[in-house]
Protein backbone atom coordinates (compact mmCIF):
# COMPACT_ATOMS: atom_id res chain seq x y z
CA UNK A 1 0.00 0.00 0.00
CA UNK A 2 1.31 3.39 -0.93
CA UNK A 3 1.08 5.96 1.86
CA UNK A 4 0.15 9.55 1.01
CA UNK A 5 2.19 12.27 2.72
CA UNK A 6 2.51 16.05 2.73
CA UNK A 7 6.29 15.95 2.68
CA UNK A 8 9.02 13.34 2.48
CA UNK A 9 12.49 14.44 3.60
CA UNK A 10 15.36 12.41 2.18
CA UNK A 11 18.44 12.61 4.40
CA UNK A 12 19.07 13.05 8.13
CA UNK A 13 22.06 15.33 8.62
CA UNK A 14 21.70 18.84 10.05
CA UNK A 15 19.76 19.99 6.94
CA UNK A 16 17.26 17.11 6.86
CA UNK A 17 16.66 17.11 10.61
CA UNK A 18 16.22 20.87 10.80
CA UNK A 19 13.70 20.64 7.96
CA UNK A 20 12.04 17.85 9.97
CA UNK A 21 11.83 19.95 13.15
CA UNK A 22 10.26 22.87 11.28
CA UNK A 23 7.82 20.86 9.13
CA UNK A 24 6.81 18.72 12.13
CA UNK A 25 6.12 21.81 14.24
CA UNK A 26 4.02 23.11 11.33
CA UNK A 27 1.91 19.91 11.59
CA UNK A 28 2.97 18.66 8.17
CA UNK A 29 3.72 15.20 9.65
CA UNK A 30 6.97 14.73 7.70
CA UNK A 31 8.48 11.35 6.89
CA UNK A 32 12.28 11.36 7.17
CA UNK A 33 14.15 8.67 5.24
CA UNK A 34 17.38 8.72 7.19
CA UNK A 35 19.02 6.05 5.09
CA UNK A 36 20.06 2.47 5.65
CA UNK A 37 23.45 2.47 7.33
CA UNK A 38 26.25 0.95 5.30
CA UNK A 39 29.97 1.49 5.30
CA UNK A 40 29.95 2.48 1.65
CA UNK A 41 26.80 4.51 1.08
CA UNK A 42 24.28 5.85 3.61
CA UNK A 43 25.36 7.50 6.84
CA UNK A 44 22.28 8.31 8.96
CA UNK A 45 23.00 11.50 10.87
CA UNK A 46 25.35 12.67 8.14
CA UNK A 47 29.01 13.56 8.15
CA UNK A 48 28.99 14.80 11.77
CA UNK A 49 28.57 11.18 12.86
CA UNK A 50 32.22 10.72 11.89
CA UNK A 51 33.64 13.77 13.65
CA UNK A 52 34.74 14.50 17.19
CA UNK A 53 34.39 17.86 18.82
CA UNK A 54 32.30 20.49 17.03
CA UNK A 55 33.59 23.83 18.30
CA UNK A 56 31.74 26.24 16.04
CA UNK A 57 28.07 25.29 16.32
CA UNK A 58 26.45 28.24 18.13
CA UNK A 59 24.94 27.45 21.52
CA UNK A 60 27.62 25.02 22.65
CA UNK A 61 30.35 27.18 24.21
CA UNK A 62 32.21 24.11 25.50
CA UNK A 63 31.88 22.32 22.16
CA UNK A 64 29.83 19.20 21.51
CA UNK A 65 30.65 15.81 20.01
CA UNK A 66 29.32 15.48 16.45
CA UNK A 67 27.31 12.28 17.13
CA UNK A 68 25.80 13.90 20.27
CA UNK A 69 24.70 16.93 18.30
CA UNK A 70 23.02 14.71 15.70
CA UNK A 71 21.31 12.57 18.34
CA UNK A 72 19.89 15.75 19.85
CA UNK A 73 18.63 17.03 16.50
CA UNK A 74 17.00 13.67 15.84
CA UNK A 75 15.28 13.65 19.27
CA UNK A 76 14.07 17.19 18.67
CA UNK A 77 12.49 16.20 15.34
CA UNK A 78 10.88 13.14 16.94
CA UNK A 79 9.52 15.23 19.78
CA UNK A 80 7.34 17.11 17.30
CA UNK A 81 6.18 13.95 15.60
CA UNK A 82 8.55 13.50 12.63
CA UNK A 83 8.24 9.92 11.34
CA UNK A 84 11.91 8.89 11.02
CA UNK A 85 12.55 5.68 9.08
CA UNK A 86 15.92 3.90 9.00
CA UNK A 87 15.46 3.11 5.34
CA UNK A 88 17.03 4.04 2.05
CA UNK A 89 15.20 5.92 -0.69
CA UNK A 90 16.05 3.71 -3.64
CA UNK A 91 14.16 5.47 -6.42
CA UNK A 92 12.16 8.65 -6.91
CA UNK A 93 9.86 9.78 -9.68
CA UNK A 94 9.59 13.57 -9.62
CA UNK A 95 8.02 13.79 -13.09
CA UNK A 96 4.58 12.94 -11.70
CA UNK A 97 2.63 14.69 -8.95
CA UNK A 98 2.17 13.62 -6.22
CA UNK A 99 5.86 12.66 -6.30
CA UNK A 100 6.64 8.97 -5.93
CA UNK A 101 9.30 7.57 -3.59
CA UNK A 102 10.42 3.96 -3.33
CA UNK A 103 12.08 2.57 -0.24
CA UNK A 104 14.25 -0.57 -0.38
CA UNK A 105 13.12 -2.37 -3.57
CA UNK A 106 13.33 0.04 -6.51
CA UNK A 107 11.53 -2.47 -8.75
CA UNK A 108 8.34 -2.71 -6.70
CA UNK A 109 5.35 -1.88 -8.91
CA UNK A 110 3.95 0.63 -6.42
CA UNK A 111 5.97 3.36 -4.67
CA UNK A 112 6.20 3.32 -0.87
CA UNK A 113 5.16 6.95 -0.59
CA UNK A 114 3.29 9.52 -2.64
CA UNK A 115 4.10 13.02 -1.44
CA UNK A 116 2.93 16.50 -2.35
CA UNK A 117 6.41 17.83 -1.66
CA UNK A 118 9.93 16.47 -1.29
CA UNK A 119 12.89 17.94 0.58
CA UNK A 120 16.24 16.67 -0.69
CA UNK A 121 18.90 16.66 2.04
CA UNK A 122 21.11 13.78 0.94
CA UNK A 123 24.38 15.55 1.73
CA UNK A 124 27.77 14.56 0.49
CA UNK A 125 30.12 11.66 1.08
CA UNK A 126 33.87 11.23 1.37
CA UNK A 127 35.80 10.82 -1.82
CA UNK A 128 38.21 7.91 -2.02
CA UNK A 129 41.39 7.74 -4.09
CA UNK A 130 39.90 4.95 -6.19
CA UNK A 131 42.84 2.56 -5.87
CA UNK A 132 42.00 -1.18 -5.87
CA UNK A 133 44.18 -1.86 -2.80
CA UNK A 134 42.63 1.06 -0.98
CA UNK A 135 39.19 -0.59 -1.23
CA UNK A 136 40.62 -4.01 -0.30
CA UNK A 137 42.29 -2.64 2.84
CA UNK A 138 39.44 -0.39 3.97
CA UNK A 139 39.02 -1.21 7.66
CA UNK A 140 42.46 -2.82 7.74
CA UNK A 141 44.58 0.28 7.96
CA UNK A 142 42.74 2.39 5.40
CA UNK A 143 40.14 4.56 7.09
CA UNK A 144 37.75 7.42 6.41
CA UNK A 145 36.95 7.93 10.11
CA UNK A 146 39.79 9.12 12.32
CA UNK A 147 37.58 9.29 15.38
CA UNK A 148 36.48 5.66 14.94
CA UNK A 149 39.84 4.16 14.11
CA UNK A 150 42.56 6.41 15.58
CA UNK A 151 42.63 4.32 18.74
CA UNK A 152 44.05 1.35 16.82
CA UNK A 153 47.14 3.29 15.74
CA UNK A 154 48.69 3.97 19.12
CA UNK A 155 52.46 4.59 18.71
CA UNK A 156 52.27 3.84 15.01
CA UNK A 157 53.41 5.93 12.06
CA UNK A 158 50.48 6.88 9.90
CA UNK A 159 49.49 9.19 7.04
CA UNK A 160 46.59 11.47 6.22
CA UNK A 161 45.94 12.44 2.61
CA UNK A 162 44.27 15.79 1.92
CA UNK A 163 44.84 19.51 2.44
CA UNK A 164 41.51 20.87 3.68
CA UNK A 165 39.99 21.42 7.10
CA UNK A 166 38.88 17.83 7.54
CA UNK A 167 42.37 16.54 6.76
CA UNK A 168 43.89 18.92 9.34
CA UNK A 169 41.26 18.03 11.92
CA UNK A 170 41.88 14.31 11.42
CA UNK A 171 45.67 14.70 11.52
CA UNK A 172 45.57 16.73 14.74
CA UNK A 173 43.16 14.27 16.34
CA UNK A 174 45.35 11.33 15.30
CA UNK A 175 48.42 12.79 17.03
CA UNK A 176 46.71 11.81 20.30
CA UNK A 177 47.47 8.21 19.40
CA UNK A 178 50.04 7.95 16.65
CA UNK A 179 53.78 8.40 16.94
CA UNK A 180 53.97 10.46 13.75
CA UNK A 181 51.42 11.71 11.25
CA UNK A 182 52.45 12.57 7.68
CA UNK A 183 50.05 14.80 5.76
CA UNK A 184 50.27 14.08 2.04
CA UNK A 185 48.90 16.89 -0.13
CA UNK A 186 48.86 17.33 -3.87
CA UNK A 187 49.71 21.05 -3.77
CA UNK A 188 52.43 23.07 -2.05
CA UNK A 189 50.00 24.95 0.18
CA UNK A 190 46.94 24.02 2.23
CA UNK A 191 43.33 24.68 1.37
CA UNK A 192 42.42 24.51 5.07
CA UNK A 193 41.31 27.54 7.07
CA UNK A 194 44.07 29.60 8.69
CA UNK A 195 43.34 28.40 12.23
CA UNK A 196 43.36 24.70 11.28
CA UNK A 197 46.48 25.01 9.11
CA UNK A 198 48.33 26.80 11.90
CA UNK A 199 47.37 24.18 14.45
CA UNK A 200 48.57 21.38 12.20
CA UNK A 201 51.83 23.12 11.33
CA UNK A 202 52.54 23.84 15.00
CA UNK A 203 52.04 20.19 15.98
CA UNK A 204 55.40 18.51 16.39
CA UNK A 205 54.11 15.04 15.50
CA UNK A 206 52.91 16.25 12.08
CA UNK A 207 55.12 16.41 8.97
CA UNK A 208 54.04 17.43 5.47
CA UNK A 209 54.72 15.74 2.16
CA UNK A 210 53.91 18.37 -0.45
CA UNK A 211 53.03 18.06 -4.15
CA UNK A 212 52.38 14.36 -3.75
CA UNK A 213 49.70 11.73 -3.87
CA UNK A 214 49.34 8.11 -2.83
CA UNK A 215 49.70 5.90 -5.91
CA UNK A 216 49.37 2.54 -4.16
CA UNK A 217 48.59 1.01 -0.79
CA UNK A 218 50.72 -2.02 -0.02
CA UNK A 219 49.94 -4.79 2.44
CA UNK A 220 48.81 -8.42 2.57
CA UNK A 221 46.13 -8.34 5.23
CA UNK A 222 46.64 -4.81 6.53
CA UNK A 223 48.47 -1.68 5.43
CA UNK A 224 52.26 -2.11 5.56
CA UNK A 225 53.42 0.84 3.48
CA UNK A 226 52.39 3.39 0.84
CA UNK A 227 53.73 4.19 -2.56
CA UNK A 228 53.86 7.98 -2.74
CA UNK A 229 54.22 9.78 -6.03
CA UNK A 230 55.66 13.27 -6.34
CA UNK A 231 53.43 15.03 -8.87
CA UNK A 232 56.18 17.39 -10.05
CA UNK A 233 58.96 14.89 -10.69
CA UNK A 234 56.69 11.87 -11.27
CA UNK A 235 59.04 9.84 -9.05
CA UNK A 236 57.65 7.39 -6.53
CA UNK A 237 58.96 6.59 -3.07
CA UNK A 238 57.96 4.31 -0.23
CA UNK A 239 56.46 5.55 3.01
CA UNK A 240 56.51 3.13 5.94
CA UNK A 241 53.13 3.65 7.62
CA UNK A 242 50.50 1.23 8.88
CA UNK A 243 47.53 3.53 8.54
CA UNK A 244 46.13 5.77 5.80
CA UNK A 245 43.32 8.20 6.57
CA UNK A 246 41.64 9.54 3.45
CA UNK A 247 40.32 13.14 3.64
CA UNK A 248 40.48 14.41 0.08
CA UNK A 249 37.06 15.99 -0.10
CA UNK A 250 33.47 15.14 -0.77
CA UNK A 251 31.02 14.56 -3.58
CA UNK A 252 27.32 15.41 -3.37
CA UNK A 253 24.90 12.48 -3.21
CA UNK A 254 22.84 13.21 -6.30
CA UNK A 255 22.65 9.78 -7.98
CA UNK A 256 19.03 9.29 -6.92
CA UNK A 257 17.96 12.41 -8.84
CA UNK A 258 20.01 12.09 -12.07
CA UNK A 259 18.04 13.23 -15.08
CA UNK A 260 15.30 14.76 -12.92
CA UNK A 261 16.84 17.59 -10.93
CA UNK A 262 19.22 20.13 -12.47
CA UNK A 263 22.85 19.91 -11.43
CA UNK A 264 25.39 22.70 -11.64
CA UNK A 265 28.68 22.24 -13.53
CA UNK A 266 30.29 21.26 -10.19
CA UNK A 267 27.85 18.37 -9.78
CA UNK A 268 25.90 19.93 -6.92
CA UNK A 269 22.11 20.26 -7.06
CA UNK A 270 21.10 23.63 -8.37
CA UNK A 271 18.73 25.74 -6.26
CA UNK A 272 17.31 29.14 -7.12
CA UNK A 273 19.42 31.90 -5.53
CA UNK A 274 18.11 32.91 -2.10
CA UNK A 275 15.74 29.95 -1.86
CA UNK A 276 15.70 26.17 -1.64
CA UNK A 277 13.62 25.73 -4.83
CA UNK A 278 14.87 23.30 -7.45
CA UNK A 279 13.83 23.15 -11.10
CA UNK A 280 10.77 21.11 -10.10
CA UNK A 281 7.88 22.84 -8.35
CA UNK A 282 7.37 21.28 -4.92
CA UNK A 283 10.87 19.81 -4.68
CA UNK A 284 13.27 21.66 -2.39
CA UNK A 285 16.94 21.03 -1.62
CA UNK A 286 19.09 21.95 1.36
CA UNK A 287 22.43 21.19 2.96
CA UNK A 288 25.64 19.97 1.38
CA UNK A 289 23.95 18.36 -1.64
CA UNK A 290 23.36 21.89 -2.99
CA UNK A 291 26.22 23.79 -1.30
CA UNK A 292 29.70 23.62 -2.74
CA UNK A 293 30.87 26.75 -0.93
CA UNK A 294 30.14 26.81 2.82
CA UNK A 295 29.47 23.14 3.72
CA UNK A 296 29.12 23.75 7.47
CA UNK A 297 26.73 22.13 9.93
CA UNK A 298 25.21 25.52 10.71
CA UNK A 299 24.71 26.49 7.04
CA UNK A 300 23.18 23.08 6.38
CA UNK A 301 20.81 23.55 9.31
CA UNK A 302 19.98 27.08 8.12
CA UNK A 303 19.20 25.89 4.61
CA UNK A 304 17.09 23.06 6.08
CA UNK A 305 15.01 25.70 7.80
CA UNK A 306 14.67 27.59 4.50
CA UNK A 307 13.52 24.39 2.75
CA UNK A 308 10.92 23.74 5.46
CA UNK A 309 9.50 27.26 5.23
CA UNK A 310 9.55 27.18 1.42
CA UNK A 311 7.75 23.82 1.54
CA UNK A 312 5.14 25.00 4.01
CA UNK A 313 4.33 28.05 1.89
CA UNK A 314 4.32 26.05 -1.30
CA UNK A 315 1.94 23.43 0.16
CA UNK A 316 -0.37 26.15 1.40
CA UNK A 317 -0.59 27.74 -2.03
CA UNK A 318 -0.94 24.34 -3.68
CA UNK A 319 -3.85 23.27 -1.47
CA UNK A 320 -5.59 26.56 -2.10
CA UNK A 321 -5.39 26.27 -5.85
CA UNK A 322 -8.82 25.03 -7.01
CA UNK A 323 -7.39 22.88 -9.82
CA UNK A 324 -5.08 20.91 -7.55
CA UNK A 325 -7.62 18.27 -6.52
Amino acid sequence: MTAKRNVVIIGSGPAGLTAAVYTARANLEPVVLEGEPSSTSDQPGGQLMLTTEVENFPGFPEGIMGPDLMTRMRSQAERFGADIRTQKASRVDLTVHPFEIWVDGPDAPEPTFRADSVIVATGAQSLMLGLPNEARLLGFGVSTCATCDGFFFRDRDIAVIGGGDSAMEEAIFLTKFARTVRIIHRRDSLRASHIMAERAQANEKIRFIWNSTVSDVIGKTSVERLEVQNLQSGKTSTLEVTGLFVAIGHRPNTDLFKGQLDLGPDGYLRTQPGSSRTNIDGVFACGDVQDSIYRQAITAAGSGCMAAIDTERWLEAFHHTPTSH
Binding site: M49, C148, F152
Partner: protein
Protein backbone atom coordinates in the same frame (compact mmCIF):
# COMPACT_ATOMS: atom_id res chain seq x y z
CA UNK B 1 20.88 -2.58 26.86
CA UNK B 2 18.43 -5.26 25.77
CA UNK B 3 18.11 -8.42 27.81
CA UNK B 4 19.41 -10.54 24.93
CA UNK B 5 22.76 -8.77 24.71
CA UNK B 6 25.63 -9.62 27.04
CA UNK B 7 28.85 -7.76 27.74
CA UNK B 8 32.15 -9.59 27.47
CA UNK B 9 35.73 -8.66 28.27
CA UNK B 10 39.06 -10.37 28.99
CA UNK B 11 38.41 -13.92 30.13
CA UNK B 12 34.63 -13.93 29.71
CA UNK B 13 35.15 -13.42 25.97
CA UNK B 14 36.87 -16.79 25.45
CA UNK B 15 34.47 -18.48 27.82
CA UNK B 16 31.46 -17.11 25.95
CA UNK B 17 32.50 -17.97 22.41
CA UNK B 18 33.64 -21.50 23.41
CA UNK B 19 30.69 -22.51 25.56
CA UNK B 20 27.88 -20.99 23.53
CA UNK B 21 25.55 -23.48 21.87
CA UNK B 22 24.50 -20.98 19.22
CA UNK B 23 26.71 -18.65 17.12
CA UNK B 24 27.92 -15.50 18.91
CA UNK B 25 28.03 -12.12 17.16
CA UNK B 26 30.64 -9.99 18.93
CA UNK B 27 30.34 -6.22 18.61
CA UNK B 28 33.75 -4.50 18.94
CA UNK B 29 32.82 -0.96 19.96
CA UNK B 30 33.72 2.08 22.07
CA UNK B 31 31.87 4.98 23.62
CA UNK B 32 33.69 7.53 21.45
CA UNK B 33 32.67 5.92 18.15
CA UNK B 34 29.55 7.57 16.66
CA UNK B 35 28.70 4.79 14.20
CA UNK B 36 29.03 2.24 17.05
CA UNK B 37 26.35 4.05 19.03
CA UNK B 38 24.16 4.09 15.94
CA UNK B 39 24.63 0.32 15.55
CA UNK B 40 23.50 -0.47 19.11
CA UNK B 41 19.71 -0.24 18.55
CA UNK B 42 20.05 -2.27 15.33
CA UNK B 43 21.78 -5.05 17.29
CA UNK B 44 19.09 -4.94 19.96
CA UNK B 45 16.44 -5.53 17.31
CA UNK B 46 18.43 -8.43 15.86
CA UNK B 47 18.97 -9.90 19.34
CA UNK B 48 15.24 -9.86 20.00
CA UNK B 49 14.34 -11.24 16.56
CA UNK B 50 16.93 -14.01 16.69
CA UNK B 51 16.68 -14.95 20.38
CA UNK B 52 17.52 -18.65 20.77
CA UNK B 53 19.36 -18.79 17.43
CA UNK B 54 22.05 -16.21 18.02
CA UNK B 55 23.89 -14.62 20.94
CA UNK B 56 25.08 -11.05 20.75
CA UNK B 57 27.97 -9.90 22.93
CA UNK B 58 29.47 -6.42 23.18
CA UNK B 59 33.19 -6.00 23.67
CA UNK B 60 34.50 -2.56 24.58
CA UNK B 61 37.86 -2.14 22.81
CA UNK B 62 39.01 0.41 25.43
CA UNK B 63 38.66 -2.23 28.12
CA UNK B 64 39.90 -5.19 26.06
CA UNK B 65 42.41 -3.88 23.51
CA UNK B 66 44.25 -7.22 23.57
CA UNK B 67 41.23 -9.09 22.20
CA UNK B 68 40.70 -6.46 19.50
CA UNK B 69 44.35 -6.87 18.56
CA UNK B 70 44.11 -10.68 18.55
CA UNK B 71 41.43 -10.46 15.86
CA UNK B 72 43.16 -7.64 13.93
CA UNK B 73 40.36 -5.18 14.57
CA UNK B 74 41.57 -1.85 13.15
CA UNK B 75 38.28 -0.12 12.58
CA UNK B 76 35.10 0.03 14.59
CA UNK B 77 32.35 -0.87 14.61
CA UNK B 78 33.53 -4.36 13.66
CA UNK B 79 31.23 -7.34 14.12
CA UNK B 80 32.69 -10.85 14.12
CA UNK B 81 30.45 -13.92 14.11
CA UNK B 82 31.92 -16.89 16.03
CA UNK B 83 30.65 -20.39 15.46
CA UNK B 84 32.02 -23.28 17.56
CA UNK B 85 34.56 -20.81 18.93
CA UNK B 86 35.93 -19.81 15.52
CA UNK B 87 35.43 -16.59 13.54
CA UNK B 88 33.32 -17.33 10.45
CA UNK B 89 32.09 -13.91 9.31
CA UNK B 90 33.15 -10.31 9.71
CA UNK B 91 31.46 -6.95 9.11
CA UNK B 92 33.50 -3.75 9.17
CA UNK B 93 31.72 -0.41 9.53
CA UNK B 94 28.13 0.49 10.26
CA UNK B 95 25.65 -1.80 8.51
CA UNK B 96 21.86 -1.90 8.35
CA UNK B 97 19.71 -4.66 9.79
CA UNK B 98 18.90 -6.24 6.44
CA UNK B 99 22.57 -6.51 5.39
CA UNK B 100 23.51 -8.04 8.76
CA UNK B 101 20.68 -10.58 8.71
CA UNK B 102 21.54 -11.63 5.16
CA UNK B 103 25.21 -11.96 6.10
CA UNK B 104 24.67 -14.22 9.10
CA UNK B 105 21.76 -16.28 7.72
CA UNK B 106 23.89 -19.19 6.43
CA UNK B 107 25.52 -19.71 9.85
CA UNK B 108 22.35 -19.93 11.95
Amino acid sequence: MGEHITTVSGSSFDETIKSATEPVLVDFWATWCGPCLRLAPILEEIATDKAGELQIAKLNVDESPDIARRFDVMSIPTLILFKDGLPVKRFVGLQGKRILLEGIAEFL
